[in-house]
Amino acid sequence: MNKCYVTYNSLITPLGNSPAENLLSLKKGISGIQMFDGQGFAGESLPLAKIASLRENERFSSLLTSACEALRGQADAKMLSSSKTLLILSTTKADLSVFPGDTFQSAENILAEKLKLAHSPLIISNACISGVVAINTAADYIHASLYDQVIVLGIDVLSPFITYGFQSLFALSDEAARPFDKQRKGISLGEACGCVIVSRTRPETAGYTVMHLGGSSSNDANHISGPSRTGEGLVRSVRRTLERTAIPRSEIDFVSAHGTGTLFNDEMESIAFQRLEMDHIALNSFKGTVGHTLGAAGIIETIFSMFSMEENLLFQSQGFAETGTSCPLNIITENRSFEVNTVLKTASGFGGGNASLILQKI
């Protein structure tokens, strides 16, 4: 089994502007989701997880700039510019404020200016599984000995384009998302930027580090925007990840699921986890707390899972009160102490994609 190391770095979400702030918010059970007026296509109020400090019309550039500055402050300058360092950017739409201009170019310009990287960033745009796929891709590059460290940065910001799009699918809830709950009505959109550094050796600098044991992806082969009724893609991805890591199910202490809060997604996941015989493992979704952050989700939720490992603390799956899926899952209903050594992170997304990865304490 090939393992490598993952260390969290900058993290800016509606819960806080640093990992420490985010952790404190999670411990306090604070929700990042609030109602905002005039957000919908017909001017409706919508629950969103917004980062208050971002300047309107510059949400993406100001968020990415802040994240880069935080990364620069906490990472070795020589490492950043080393030819053995790669940066992978995970994002679904990048900077829509420059649309119809090149939204990804805008991101590359900021990264080039702020970070002085040796190589142009590799961009992964794979819908909502981008973040998990990006971390797995980083691990792949480490195992192939192509780089010594890979910075994985996930980011997406709120915009009318995305809000109206999800509205047209009737996928947005008019109240804060309630993943896996009986009364769930849909997604609460969010925005965030999170960064982890995946490395071949354990970093010498301070920062919490765990091992990435392996991961995989799999397509549902069913529908481009609706999940498979049998959860086939998610089941196959998790099975493949378990095979690759040689980790038995019994060793997994916590599952950070995708849990968007829609009827179909959460139902699919419950079926998948039951088929995987993982329905008894402590499980949550972070999307009832911080919304669905799209291209950032896989990264920030991996970081939140690392907090669980660091603190031996399981975080409540906010918005959940009563089981609303045909296969009941072991949903975490309040923050509680628990020894978290091994974590399974999963993600599912448009295009029928599913991805998973396993982290373990060193």
């Binding site: 739409k93 119809p100 939204t103 799009g165 047209s168 799999s218 397509n219 549902d220 082969a221 295009g351």
Partner: protein, 201 residues
């Protein structure tokens, strides 16, 4: 080690497989529809797809007809590695227009405002449950593709079906190729040669 077993170009001028032109449309205006008919395809969903997916379906069908051995592989043994430079920009423009100019955001356009949907369409068409990844790169990056193919083959995949598909107002650039684990070798330089080949046709 890896070997390239089939490659294809899909352009408004026509489709070439393994360097030989196999289909040409009646006109360049409705070239995708013409090629769909010429290939004898019977897949009504095609007409609802975005341009990236249409190019992929046309190219895949042509490769299959010219003998590309997709059927040799199990339903999750082919990894899909796709990339482009413009993401889903053409559909993004149509979607934006639907709510800015026409009156209502269109759900059937919104679902295609992500470039990776093309891999979803290929997976649905073939019932492939394999691994997928979509990259955004400025230009066709042969080194990135060969690195990724090597990685996916070493992880246990038996083949990689790869695509570079850009479709914007400036034109269409679609290059698909199938690589199998094997004794052969495929260097970025060789791959680049196949990619550039259409310019000499």
């Amino acid at each position: 080690m890896m070997e390239l077993i089939s490659y294809c170009r899909v352009l408004p001028e026509g489709i070439s497989v393994n360097g030989a032109k196999v289909y040409a449309p009646d006109s360049t205006e409705s070239w995708q529809k013409d090629l769909y008919t010429a290939l004898g395809l019977n897949y009504p969903k095609f007409h609802k797809m975005d341009n990236l997916s249409k190019c992929a379906v046309l190219g895949f069908e042509a490769m299959k007809q010219e003998g590309a051995p997709f059927a040799d592989f199990g339903d999750d043994e082919i990894a899909l590695i796709f990339a482009n430079s413009a993401s889903s920009r053409d559909t993004d423009e149509r979607f934006t227009e639907s709510y800015e100019k026409i009156a209502h955001p269109s759900p059937s356009l919104f679902v295609y405002t992500l470039p990776n949907i093309v891999m979803g369409e290929m997976s649905i068409l073939n019932k492939w449950y394999g691994e997928n990844v979509f990259f955004i790169r400025k230009t066709f990056d042969a080194a990135m593709f060969t690195e990724q193919i090597s990685i996916y083959l070493s992880k246990g995949n038996k083949a990689c079906f790869c695509g570079w598909i850009d479709h914007t107002s400036e034109g269409t650039d679609c290059f698909l190729f199938l690589v199998r684990a094997g004794a052969g070798h495929l260097s970025p330089e060789q791959l680049n040669t196949y990619y550039k080949q259409y310019r000499n046709e």
